[in-house]
């Protein structure tokens, strides 16, 4: 469904802000609690999570023609905006609680599209036990413009950060990688249960969610002086990566490293972890695959620019690839 319409009767500009807010409240239904916790005041008033936990605060955006297009079901677009943020919380091993949403859209936005967007967002919030507590509505100039930014507040007893792996740590990835554009970027399930399970295990020492592709995201887990040595034979390739590779003529591995939007978990276990026992414990709990794809090794000393990811042969893998906003022409 196309988000924008030329029919004045079907555009959001047909209604004032107050009427729009009334409808949004209706569309959100039980996902939006009563004020002051929900919509009503400018600021949501929220309970403090369990004592001893840390707060987690993250945001992510959803942009027309970048994260969704006219072939995207509006419900799937609404759910995707929340799931992108849920995946961030999953990557810390946290639990999501409260979302606020900022929408900036041109006045030719279709009201029917917006209703389905919010109903999809609300259904997703209910599914993951998260509230939508408020937000902000702004009119963007011009036509055909839509940007949603969602901020998500969560908590974690033991938040897992990116940095934390030592020499000989195992590198693990959940699910399979590559070709997300074929559908996974909309249908993915944020790995919240998996992330919480991992954060509760002392042998897991660092974690993040994979959004920009292994080539760009894995270096963030690698401490100075170390390199990630990946055994490509173990890389879990998605069916979509294979199909995409047939279309593009690139290798499946290339797509697994650079496509982005995998929304899987990438994590490190402490050196000396028995990887077979770890895998078995995982399999007892989850149907989703988990795969050890390599180790952290010592970087060669005295080199100017040490590649962060190498293959078994020691050669750099996809240095500088993966999705970068604002290109990298510099």
């Amino acid at each position: 469904m196309h988000p924008f319409t030329d029919d004045p009767e079907s555009q959001v500009r047909r209604h004032g802000e107050l009427e729009l807010l009334r409808r949004i409240r209706e569309w959100l239904g039980t996902a939006n609690p009563a004020p002051p916790r929900g919509m009503g005041d400018d600021t949501a008033v929220l309970p403090v999570p369990t004592d001893g936990d840390s707060l987690l605060l993250t945001n992510d955006s959803l942009l027309w023609n970048q994260h969704f297009d006219e072939f995207t079901e509006p419900e799937a677009a609404g759910a995707k905006l929340l799931k992108r943020n849920l995946s961030d919380i999953a990557g810390m091993g946290g639990v999501p609680h409260h979302a606020i949403l900022a929408l900036a859209a041109s006045p030719n936005l279709s009201l029917a599209w917006l209703e389905r967007f919010f109903r999809g967002l609300a259904a997703c919030a209910r599914e993951y036990d998260c509230e939508v507590n408020g937000g902000d509505l702004a009119e963007a100039p011009g036509t055909d413009s839509f940007l949603g930014t969602l901020s998500l507040l969560g908590s974690a007893t033991r938040p897992l950060l990116r940095k934390g792996g030592d020499l000989d740590s195992w590198i693990w990835v959940t699910g399979s990688l590559g070709g997300s554009r074929a559908g996974h970027h909309l249908s993915f399930r944020p790995r919240l249960e998996e992330g919480a399970w991992l954060a509760a295990r002392e042998d897991v020492v660092a974690m993040m969610d994979l959004t920009d592709g292994l080539a760009k995201d894995l270096p963030a887990l690698v401490a100075d002086g170390l390199q990630a040595q990946v055994d490509l034979a173990f890389l879990p390739l998605s069916e979509a990566a294979r199909a995409t590779a047939q279309d593009t003529g690139e290798t499946e591995v290339f797509h697994a490293f650079t496509d982005g939007e995998d929304y899987e978990l990438l994590f490190l276990t402490r050196p000396g972890t028995d990887y077979r026992a770890f895998e078995q414990a995982w399999r007892d709990r989850f149907a989703l695959p988990v795969t050890p794809i390599g180790n952290l090794v010592l970087a060669p000393p005295m080199e100017d620019s040490v590649p962060k990811i190498i293959g078994l042969d020691g050669r750099p893998l996809f240095a500088g690839a993966g999705y970068q906003h604002f290109g990298s022409s510099g």
Copy 2:
């Protein structure tokens, strides 16, 4: 300074995302704490505020050619994005703690402009004792597009909501109103100290910050069955409202009611409050004026659509005016 440039060497696209993030971290300086509390992970890890308090979560946006233009100093634009949110927290009587920022900009954004924007934001954060803990960077399509959305996490011991006033409550406003476009919309100080002082007083029963104009904001404080009766003779008019009225030919009162972006506090005191004693207590503490502008009175029964604001003569005042996003042509 113009935020966008045709010179490729001066555009943010000249640099990749990672280089931009490195620079943003530098520009933010001490306003951005070390990770995991600050930039570094996708999600900021934050301490839980004092036990017994509520969390406050709000967001507000800053849009090119709507909230700032080429005549706005970039530092003032950065500060304004934060101050809009600080004003929301002030309107609850809360204390700000943590900000995360989502930027969506076209690649022809000027790097020099962006540096000054961030330096202004950082200076403002330091001034109001608030951290900038992370965010998200997205590339918007086309040219000349800039939208910043900031989410602010705060806390309050006794958050003041919009609803809470009974019959005969006094209506108060801080500072003076109208003509904000002449400069106040950039130079305003969020009323954080004043808001916290008011929230600590039991005789203050409802509050909000004035952003869309008294005509639109005051009705939000008026419970069903009541009306706000405003004595126009007491309305604190700004110098800018007088100057603007001379230009437009409208009345000063019109501008005070409808211009918006006042960022003053609008609040109600409990019926029976001694307004002279209240004013004296305020004056002992603040140089900023505070003014009782009216009362909540009983709405006439059995009317179809009761006006929320009336004058001393009982006639409606500026019904439906004030800034509405997405117009109100419906």
